[in-house]
Symmetry: C2
Subunit: 159 residues, 2 copies
DNA sequence: GGCAGTGACTGCGCAAGGCAGTGACTGACT
DNA sequence: AGTCAGTCACTGCCTTGCGCAGTCACTGCC
């Protein structure tokens, strides 16, 4: 590996955590602007992605209890983010539906970032795009795997 | 732009939020493993990065009040993450110092991801690395700028 | 037709953070 | 030298978000 290549790799390794951090802060800023908690925003993303509309499943994806999700839904209804609708097939269940006007607002807030990404990607050639996609997808897999498979460390706690 | 290039760009645009999301979950998992809140972990990162060691400045970077940061410091001392030390130059102030063994533990938890990044970057050529670094650094700037400069949207709230 | 399982909801408690002060200390200005 | 506004960390008090454990309604299976 050539020296300047090494420098570039180092630069990338340094830029990565900054990128992740600033992105996280951006999400927090969007949540604040919408007068909504990060958890509510996260739930809204799941609803927008169409991943699921079942409370129990959404609670699992958000890594919280069903009880806590009930209150979350209460707040989201109060804030006009989503609404409950009965599930005709099973009277125990219900479906969570996002409210369109707030979703539009969300898209509006994300528009600048989406525009940046679109323009930036348009200037890359095939090899560069391939590298980027590979890095992102493999990085996603690595993060998911690492999340569930963290090394054991000793720590003294909880007093 | 050629069709397969367009597809690649779309793939990248889809992979990006997934990457960000899985990374955020990874951080949450690390925090949980260390029996520490995400905020404490965030603060630990700042300390490790050597950004600052002043409570007021750290509170600003974490976007919280100085009062809340005092409790945060209390918890971090209880959890043996950091310690307070007097500032000899100004007796009102103090400096926050990370505790080395817990920092080592942190590094250990991040090791798998760091290894992945290092190996992945080693397989990229100059043009690819340049594109990646550019995307990350400009993306960081864009996110920071977008955070402080979100478009105004109408929303009815707070009942 | 009973019965274990599932789904959403509720009371209670805890932890985290904001707000509005308080006292110690500083540097600048007279 | 004395004063005084500004800064710094810290402290009650309060709100909010979430977990936990239990409750009730409903389902499908035997």
């Amino acid at each position: 590996m050539l020296p300047d290549q090494r420098e570039l790799a180092t630069a990338a390794a340094l830029a990565l955590p900054r990128f992740v951090g600033s992105t996280a802060l951006f999400h927090a800023a969007v949540a604040e602007r919408m007068a909504v908690t990060p958890t509510e925003l996260h739930c809204l993303h799941l609803l927008h992605g169409g991943v699921s509309d079942s409370p129990t499943e959404l609670a699992r994806l958000l890594r919280m209890s069903t009880g806590a999700f009930t209150r979350l839904l209460d707040r989201m209804e109060r804030h006009r983010l989503a609404e409950r609708a009965p599930d005709p097939a099973d009277r125990r269940r219900l479906v969570v539906r996002p409210l369109p006007d707030r979703m539009a607002e969300l898209a509006e807030l994300y528009a600048p970032m989406a525009r940046f990404v679109g323009e930036r990607l348009a200037h890359l050639d095939r090899r560069q795009l391939t590298a980027l996609v590979g890095f992102l997808t493999d990085g996603t897999a690595a993060a998911e795997q690492a999340s569930g498979n963290l090394p054991n460390v000793t720590h003294a706690i909880t007093s």
